[in-house]
Amino acid sequence: MIPLLQVQDLTVRFDVLDGLVHAVNGISYNLNEGETLGIVGESGCGKSVSVLSMMRLIPQPPGKIVAGQVLYRGRNLLDLDDAEMQHVRGKEIAMVFQDPMTCLNPVLTIGRQISEALVVHTGASWEDARRQTVRLLEMVGIPQAADRLGDYPHQFSGGMRQRAMIAMALACSPSILIADEPTTALDVTIQAQVIELVKSLRDRLGMAVIWITHDLGVIAGLAEKVIVMYAGFIVERGSVDDIYGDPRHPYTLALLKSLPRVDRSSHERLATIGGMPPDLVGLPAGCPFAARCDYRVEHCLQENPHLRSILAGHEIACWVDVAGRHEPVTGREI
């Protein structure tokens, strides 16, 4: 069975005043039916740009997809023309963003916007679409859904807007839901509500999910597979237990060790990563993380490591294997 989504060597550059920004540098991964993939990394690592390019939502100057393919059910999304791509977006692959106001039109009612998606993508009549919209809003937990069809986005609170955006995304039962930092701006209790919602919908609809965030806590509770990105590269990939229980890339390790935990008493200073994220315009030869890495060797400065498998399903892009050279991160025996 071929994977639902296959990203192969995706490379995206931006041509800006300061030079050429190497935003995404040859990343590859697969997504199977019903699977939840988490993409983590800090700002500038390329996680958002990679999915936006995949969905052809990056303006082509200054952005440019210089290499790679994105195969959805075997078809390369990058080869489709605009009309075909519009059909894919919304019906097959849906997206939700951090700011609901980027996809909710402030001058149209919520009911209208969701119904419109249904009419356009599934050919339903407006009557049917309206009924389905009410069901969708109820499904995402908006109380008195039928009464709220006529409300405008600004009349919803932040959490409700996110739910409405999710409802719109799910309207046509897509196979993949891509969520780009959807809960970053929400309060923690609202975030918990939204995550529970996505989990239950995912289980109910058998949807695959790609969840992008910098919040390692959220991914731990949501994802099955995890990709860690840095400077436009994938530096580690594996199951969620592998990544959190047995991180092998120095960046992942350092990131996990720098996080305080709400369930643990702490008595020492947080471990930090020295230095600053790299400038994506002038990427040095060699590993992009080398300058900040505690485990680097001479070779790291000369050649950029490719992803290699160290255990089944667990890969890192590193010349050094840090297994056994640090204290266990989660308390689990390695």
Partner: protein, 317 residues
């Protein structure tokens, strides 16, 4: 004066390098101003005007400009008098030089008065808000509602003969110059005051202003160190354009006979002198008129260029 207690020396490792600055504000400004070809050209013309008015004194003395010889009156342009002579035989070229000095001086001085008044009133209204703002704004609006020309005429008539002559830089100015400068300044500050007030209202909401208050900076310090520097752009543009309008206004009043009095020349009162000879001796008004137009146009173009170059949206990050 307190001295701060010494901070214990800390040998923590110094963090990260900082990139060399891409471009300073000044460099960015010049780069963008240079792109405005018309503004650059106009700036050049202005420079020429200044040279003309100031440098021309090398060629003519003031006495020559005021030298009357009725035998030479109303002669057209010739080799001895390239711009011709006026109704009492004075050389027009020489008079445009000295007249230019006065006109430009009036323009610049009125601008200074205007800018000072506008900034002070706008800043106080915008910063303090409440009653202060209400009172100042009602006053400003009242001033705006009075037609400027009317005000000018009334004030010119009232103060006209009352100020004595002034000696400055070897030249004698009729007291009416000061009157004109003050009048123009006092009747033009309202526009700038509103702009400054609007800037203050918006800049005041920035978090670094709150930080300055938390630091303990006095109100005056906040106004002068924090807010004013951040609204220089509209002030500079407004000041530039106000020079142009002051020069024009001076021409108006002088043309109506209420401006600078004889024998001190200005471009404006030279136009007044040409009133009865519009067709018969056009050189009487063409040359001063052309100079006024050139000057005012150039200032306006430079002002445009400045406005674009100082656009805060692209200068500050």
């Amino acid at each position: 004066m307190d001295t701060a207690e010494a901070i214990p020396r800390v040998s923590l490792p110094v963090v990260e390098e900082v990139e060399p600055p891409p471009l300073t504000f000044r460099q960015l400004f010049w780069r963008r101003f240079r792109r405005h070809k018309l503004a650059l050209f106009a700036a050049g013309v202005l420079l020429l005007m200044l040279l003309y008015a100031v440098g021309g004194t090398i060629f003519f003395s003031e006495a020559e400009a005021n030298y009357t010889d009725t035998g030479l009156r109303l002669q057209g342009p010739s080799r001895e008098h390239p711009f011709g002579t006026d109704t009492v035989g004075r050389d027009i070229l020489a008079r445009t030089v000295y007249g230019g000095q006065i006109s430009l001086l009036i323009g610049l001085s009125a601008m200074v008065v205007e800018v000072l008044l506008g900034i002070v009133i706008g800043a106080l209204a915008g910063f303090y808000g409440g009653i202060v703002d209400s009172l100042l704004m009602r006053f400003t609006e009242a001033m705006l509602n009075i037609p400027q020309l009317f005000l000018l005429i009334v004030m010119a008539k009232f103060f006209g003969g009352r100020i004595p002559n002034v000696e400055l830089a070897g030249r004698t100015f009729s007291g009416s110059v000061i009157v004109i400068v003050l009048i123009i300044g006092v009747t033009s500050w309202m526009y700038l005051a509103r702009i400054v007030r609007a800037e203050f209202l918006s800049i005041k909401e920035n978090e670094y202003i709150l930080a300055a208050r938390a630091t303990g900076t006095r109100n005056l310090g906040i106004i002068v160190q924090h807010i004013l520097p951040n609204c220089m752009a509209p002030i500079v543009v407004s000041a530039t354009l106000s020079v142009a309008s002051a020069v024009t206004l001076e021409a108006y009043i002088s043309f109506l006979g209420m401006g600078v009095q004889a024998p001190t020349a200005t471009w404006g009162n030279m136009l007044d002198g040409a009133y009865n000879y519009v067709e018969t001796a056009p050189w009487l008004w063409i040359f001063p008129g052309l100079l006024v137009v050139l000057t005012v146009l150039s200032i306006n173009f430079v002002g445009d260029g400045l406005r674009d170059a100082l656009d805060p949206r692209t200068l500050a990050k």
